[in-house]
Symmetry: C3
Subunit: 337 residues, 3 copies
Amino acid sequence: MTFTLADLAQRFQGMVRGNPDVKIERVAALDVAGPRDISYFTDRKYLAMLAGTMAGAVILTEADASGFSGSALIVDNPHLCFARVAALLHAAPAFRPGAHATAVVDSGARVAVTAYIGPHAVIESGVTIADGAYIGPGCVVGANAVVGAHSRLMAQVFVGERCVIGENCLFQPGVVIGADGFGYARDGERWEKVPQLGRVVIGNEVEVGANTTIDRGSLNDTVIGDGVKLDNLIQIAHNVRIGENTAIAACAGIAGSTTVGKRCTIGGQAGIMGHIEITDDVHVTACSFVSGSITKPGVYSASLRAEPAEKWRRNAARLHHLDEMARRLRELEAKLK
Amino acid sequence: MTFTLADLAQRFQGMVRGNPDVKIERVAALDVAGPRDISYFTDRKYLAMLAGTMAGAVILTEADASGFSGSALIVDNPHLCFARVAALLHAAPAFRPGAHATAVVDSGARVAVTAYIGPHAVIESGVTIADGAYIGPGCVVGANAVVGAHSRLMAQVFVGERCVIGENCLFQPGVVIGADGFGYARDGERWEKVPQLGRVVIGNEVEVGANTTIDRGSLNDTVIGDGVKLDNLIQIAHNVRIGENTAIAACAGIAGSTTVGKRCTIGGQAGIMGHIEITDDVHVTACSFVSGSITKPGVYSASLRAEPAEKWRRNAARLHHLDEMARRLRELEAKLK
Amino acid sequence: MTFTLADLAQRFQGMVRGNPDVKIERVAALDVAGPRDISYFTDRKYLAMLAGTMAGAVILTEADASGFSGSALIVDNPHLCFARVAALLHAAPAFRPGAHATAVVDSGARVAVTAYIGPHAVIESGVTIADGAYIGPGCVVGANAVVGAHSRLMAQVFVGERCVIGENCLFQPGVVIGADGFGYARDGERWEKVPQLGRVVIGNEVEVGANTTIDRGSLNDTVIGDGVKLDNLIQIAHNVRIGENTAIAACAGIAGSTTVGKRCTIGGQAGIMGHIEITDDVHVTACSFVSGSITKPGVYSASLRAEPAEKWRRNAARLHHLDEMARRLRELEAKLK
């Protein structure tokens, strides 16, 4: 589809500077864009790229536009506008509703006529697949689970029995929703499994990255709020609750029964202890370990940055005697008094 | 199914206090339980919840029962009793033996008549699926592998050729058993693959969490002992050996050829170096890195807790000069002598 | 297949010491090898094993051979030679070309007659599957993707639309190539998805471990160079570029838009920040976090080793006051001047 810059400006409440009739077909990065492409600019680190771009138009702020001679779409939030332009120009391909011949759909499942069930998908009894939902190839939706309207399970996703997924969600391949939580009772030396009877309940507009796992609750539910975004290979344990619009980067892990507030960001490979509460608007940096509740919004960190190994080895070795060092320092202070 | 409290007491060697005829249908948490539910109590932090519970009965110890006015099932280990009551009241639904019409079962596979093979599962030649085993939708069991009696592969599980899984095991969706280990020989700048020829051999009553991977051995086998419990997204590399009843939390990784003893617990995101030995009864806390063998039972740790980023940044910066600080401290001590 | 030691020596440019006519059928480790097995020796830690081995022959260097009385295949790089002997003796079983009856292959896909498509695999429109490629059971290859000659997707692998995989690659089960990158624009409190429009482009002889995920680029591509080896459960984010012959161990994560050079090694559970550049020949040790660009080859580290928890707790507590300690040390120094 082709739009003029004026079309885009109208549709996304922007202002045109330059040629309103330039025809836009695609989005592209500043350095590879051509005359039918629209790009965006937010980071002054790339000013040289902006100056040299061949893009038909660039989305930027009024302030940044002043130094740019090409055609521009001026908005307050260029990244957001770019996201929407990209979604318009590169819409996910429409699918033809219905179930593929190789899908196994239980006769007791309720599948909307506008939904799609892909090859080799399995839809068990009592499942609800709502309007416009997309169940990709190889997905398994367990008994009595619900997939909300316009939600998409891309491929090879597992949704366990009774779990509930809201509307407009997007789950990447390999996601596992509603596996058993890790719950065992001690029986002398051995572990006895505690049946995991809760569900996973996921809100609207939630995205879940490839091979991420969200376990069902043990008795109560695991709950993921509206607008939560989870990256790849994340572990969400049983009975965790994640507040609205929190975003978590890849390889992070949230242990059981922990509550994470709204609008938080959790960095990649961060670890969050079980049975704690993290309030709203907390930001945990990558590779940090949160071992206790956090009651005040802010940025929290505990990561160490790699340095040349020889230097690191000497520093780390001292760390393992830091308590002794601290005591020696105190003794010196006492002597000097 | 419904049981009286007296039924449960007899079945699980408990003692009834209160009404032995109260009818129990389900388990539930103290705070949401109703008159047909049984709950349990172990943590005095929740005394107020116990006092206010509407549960038909509560499982607790004699000591805790003294302050409770409701009907009680008194046992030595309430958590364990609860696990067993839950398993009784909420038994996994029985399956109808046989292979689904869409399953691909090689004519050379031996599948017990009491076993189940789900939709789109693939059972290759020479495989043995023993009595009462459950192979869920989309699972792939490679040539000559063995799945022991009453073991369950929930969905989309992969078991590589020749691997052996014991009895009464439970594998969550996305588990990969017997992928190639990460073995390469240097050939100048490039890496030459070393064929991975060992198996994975898994004992009885082993549970493996969603998307966890256990690689086959390079020459000898990777071995997982009876009663081992693995959480989600764990990596077990080639030739690792894990002792009986060890439990490992999510996102942990055990590098190649390491031996972990019996009855160990490994915390979430912990990393264990390759080619080391960890003795029995070792407990590694979450997010800790074990870089050498551990010969004495006990608790081991190396994690740092997140603190406000500004404060952390100052402390971490000093850490990168700790060796120098230690030398300056020594000089001061020398001067003062 | 059986080879004499002389056959192997000729084929792999080695020298025989001992009996050239000894018949070799398999490879095995020194301690379990029998008279028809060939083993290898590189680590003097295992000298006793070498002395006691029952192997029909051992691959080792000239220097190590002098102390060994059995039959030997003498080469410069025993591990490499062993890898090749193992590949010869234990070749992956040949497959019969063609598509399994249950595979769903779009009529617009180009599948070489020498390629194999396994049970329940899905090949979408416009896909190219080249000569001798192997697409295992349950794999999904999205529209217009390319799988190069002799590449193997073992099972349940996902390759997203338009992604390109080179020749002679090997992907273990559960790998996800070309899921959406984690890209969102802020819209007040909520996140707006930024469409992920790039591809994943993978070179030749690349291996990818079980359940590893490589995201598609946001605008430009994510690029994996020839000869790269990735272990299990690794996250490669959008727009990452990894240079030739780099090897990355399990559970590592590379954040978005980072470039890793050639011939690097990244240890298990290491984390690499986004938007940085790591030059060629950099080695990051296990569990280390790289938070900034690295411009000089060498070994980099930031991991701490677990110690008994009580001792660690005291040291870690001091670390959280290290900045204050450093200031007190400076004050003492000032006083003493």
